[in-house]
Amino acid sequence: MKCFSIKKVSLVSKKDLYIKLKEATTTLGVLRDVEISIDRIIYEEFEEPIGPTPMPSIKDLRSWDYTLLKRYRPFYMPFCELCCLCTFGKCDLSMGKRGACGLDMAAQQSRIVLLACCIGAATHTSHAKHLVEYLIERYGRDIPLDLGEGVGVEAPIVRLVTGIKPRTLRDLEDVLSYVDNQLIHLLASTHTGQEGDALDFESKVLHVGMMDHLAMEVADIAQISVMGFPKSDPDAPLIDSGFGIVDKSKPVIMVVGHNVPSAAGIIDYLIENGLLGQVEVTGLCCTAHDAARYNPRTKIIGPISWQVRYIRSGLPDVVVVDEQCIKTNLIDEARKVDAVFIATSEKNCQGLRDRTEDPVDEVVKDLVERREDGVLIFDAEKVGEVAVKAAIALAPKRRQYKEKPISREAIIEYAKRCIKCMECVRTCPNNLPIMDAMGAAAKGDLSILSGLYEQCIGCVKCEGVCRAKLPIHSMIVWADDVFEKETFKVRAGRGAIKDTEIRAVGGPIVFGEIPGVIAFVGCSNYAYGGRDVYEMSEEFAKRRYIILASGCAAMTLGMYKDEEGKTLYERFPGSFDAGGVVNVGSCVSNAHIAGAAIKIANIFARRPLRANYEEIADYVLNRVGAVGVAWGAMSQKAASIASGFWRLGVPVIVGPHGSKYRRALLGRSDREEDWVIYNARTGEKVYCEPAPEHLFYMAETKEEAIVMIAKLCMRPNDTTKGRAIKLSHYADLYKKFYNALPEDIHLFVRTPADIPITMKDEILALLKEKDWKEKTIPDPTLLPRLIRRRE
């Protein structure tokens, strides 16, 4: 239900005032003896007038979407050429055919993208709702939002999209109910016989993405405000990380997923009972990030791809799962090592018995005595108590599992059983040369096998198809035991970027002097291992770009060391400044990355923020040199996060597996007409430059990605000084890998002053060859209404 009217967005405060009226005369007549529940008290304190698009519906930003989509046209790569979504099907949509519902292939692909993004955004929204509900239940509806000192604009996305300036958790509920509402309409659009146009589907994808960002922001500002997470703190603590930091002598609890309450319940119970430090709380995936933000003694084991290897290591006594990106058969893995399993989310019940209402000790007993492999508990406090008690009871019994699960000798013996059927290789998402590795291993050489470790994403699909039933994944992991001993440091997620930081770097970013803001985000479905992400981020950190990170990528960043044994988080500061390496936090913290871009437009450039989406997105697209890199993007959430960035004008690069998202959004630098913009100063339409050239790009190699990142950081608004810096990085990086100047560099030289001095001669030569002509640098915009007709 809409409790607010969109026209007059008003803000909520104190809860549930009750007034009894003997009689009230109103325009609607006389009311007698009524009890009035006052749901909201309006106090207009938000000084900024409302912008043009508060709480936009699907159609309201459609023209902005079309502006983007006509420049960055989709290229569809059908991952399946059939449709089986209704009983008219299957329909073969290939080669120009249409389905029984009339749909063509392009529309079907974009429809599937929309569906995936709806799933992704619903997941964040559901997560946010659960979290806010949990916090309200625990701390009350009127607990104020507090993102820390120096953060005035507490919720840039919420303000930008909805026009609401949230003060308390209650206000966040308003935001989420708007998100719910939009997502339902969007999902409905995928029904058979609804939308039929690919670009309209894409516009809806962008709308979903914006909803997703709202949900993420809500989730993260809620937990930051209330749960004592680092509040926009560049010096958030460094968290112990890696397999090597687990103390085997202690009971070990593993938490995995995304929604922190259960993990917090465990930590709370430990603290309340003086057990903190005596029981290891170890995490994977975003729950690890958020548990570490909640309490820095949490240990971050690693990303999503390490779930199976961690359980198989035998270390965890208790496995607690919440929601999202959790291997759905972890309970089977837990069973193999006699660990117990606790599921905690309605969205992930795993067929288990709901024990929420049962006495703790009974549940613990059932688990420890293996009467049940796993239980379902919906109450975070109870999860805490059960998990801790079970871990303490089990740890002594589980000693034997905590040793190396598979010896060198056993590996060799297994390898000898390989019948060279190649099923594994043909099933492995990274086509790892498992068969060859087995051949060598059979002869006692485990080096190839252990060499696969880094590229193995732990999907365990190879084991499912192995005709010799070999424990391939385990063999790869324990072919060498280096990894068991590894320890790292990951900086705890700091949360938002401070307004003060924005003020300091806004100028250098917009003018191009800080050559770019690069966000490494998303999952760990890496085609060639996580090192790529480390190397990319190191490259740009050294070049004093601003590096942001979140989610699994933020862990990967911390899992490599330099010669001195230092991780990136130890080498570079955590501040939002040139050369900073900033972990914002878990997946939902991605909102702060978008938020930073928005705040640059608002705080630095003083563009009105409230309900003013198009202008801000136009600003970001043309002026803020930000690029997202989701090198191992795997999930539907990653898809919706990316689409939120696109609508805001931030390009995203994914790795090779990202091509399975089945469409790119690419610009055509060869079509001048695509790059005509308005010069806001004169109102003229001018050819500008292909910057940023793409919106959604799949790179094959990290080198390609590095070059593309540098290129996509360029923006039409760069000053000549800024552009010279950006061009010098672009050219330098390209040269480093390809031993020449980029062939398209002339497209990005607007005036001679753009040319980096160090490369002046060669660039001038190239310009000449390309028949280059000087251009004026416009005050760029794609929105006619932003033209300031001065003439």
Partner: protein, 177 residues
């Protein structure tokens, strides 16, 4: 049987599958009659086979049929050193342009009639090829990887490295002949 299955088993295609090029002669013929040809190379072209590197074979092929090479792979510098007809551009970007009837190719001289793929991750080629199959139906696509690529118009079958090198060698010889 497995020789004509998708190399990655789950990458099952739709109703139309690539015709298999069994013999180098056929490949040579297809290329000779391929009109304007664009060869798209992935990073895998740097693989060194027993006699020469994959790259050498490919550049030979390209030279022989006057094809342009498009790549964003690390092999670009090497390719460029042998072939002026080469552009650094991502395979995805190229594929994105091909369906545009107005696109004049990387050299501005006209649309391509044939595209050859080699050296990209299997699934990337698979996907780019479905894109082209559906949205650039007038372009013939040929995969020269050692894996069956069902979404190409023409593809090699799954083979081992030795067979493959033999195939490529023969192909180059036929083309030069």
């Amino acid at each position: 049987m497995w020789r004509s299955e998708p190399w990655m088993k789950a990458e099952v295609p739709g109703t139309r599958r690539a015709t298999i090029i069994e013999k180098p002669e056929l490949a040579a013929e297809l290329l000779k009659q391929g009109g304007r040809i664009l060869v798209v190379c992935g990073n895998g072209v740097s693989t060194v086979l027993s006699k020469r590197s994959l790259l050498d074979y490919i550049v030979d092929v390209a030279e022989a049929v006057d094809a342009h090479i498009a790549t964003s792979s690390m092999a670009y510098a090497k390719i460029k050193s042998r072939l002026t007809n080469a552009t650094w551009i991502s395979p995805m970007e190229v594929a994105h342009r091909v369906p545009d009837p107005e696109w004049m190719g990387l050299d501005g001289k006209g649309a391509y009639k044939t595209m050859v793929f080699i050296g990209l991750p299997y699934y990337m080629t698979w996907l780019i090829l479905t894109g082209l199959k559906n949205f650039a139906q007038s372009v013939k696509t040929i995969s020269l990887d050692r894996f069956y690529q069902p979404n190409a118009s023409w593809s090699l079958r799954n083979m081992n490295i030795g067979e493959w090198e033999q195939f490529l060698e023969a192909l180059v010889n036929k083309l030069k002949a």
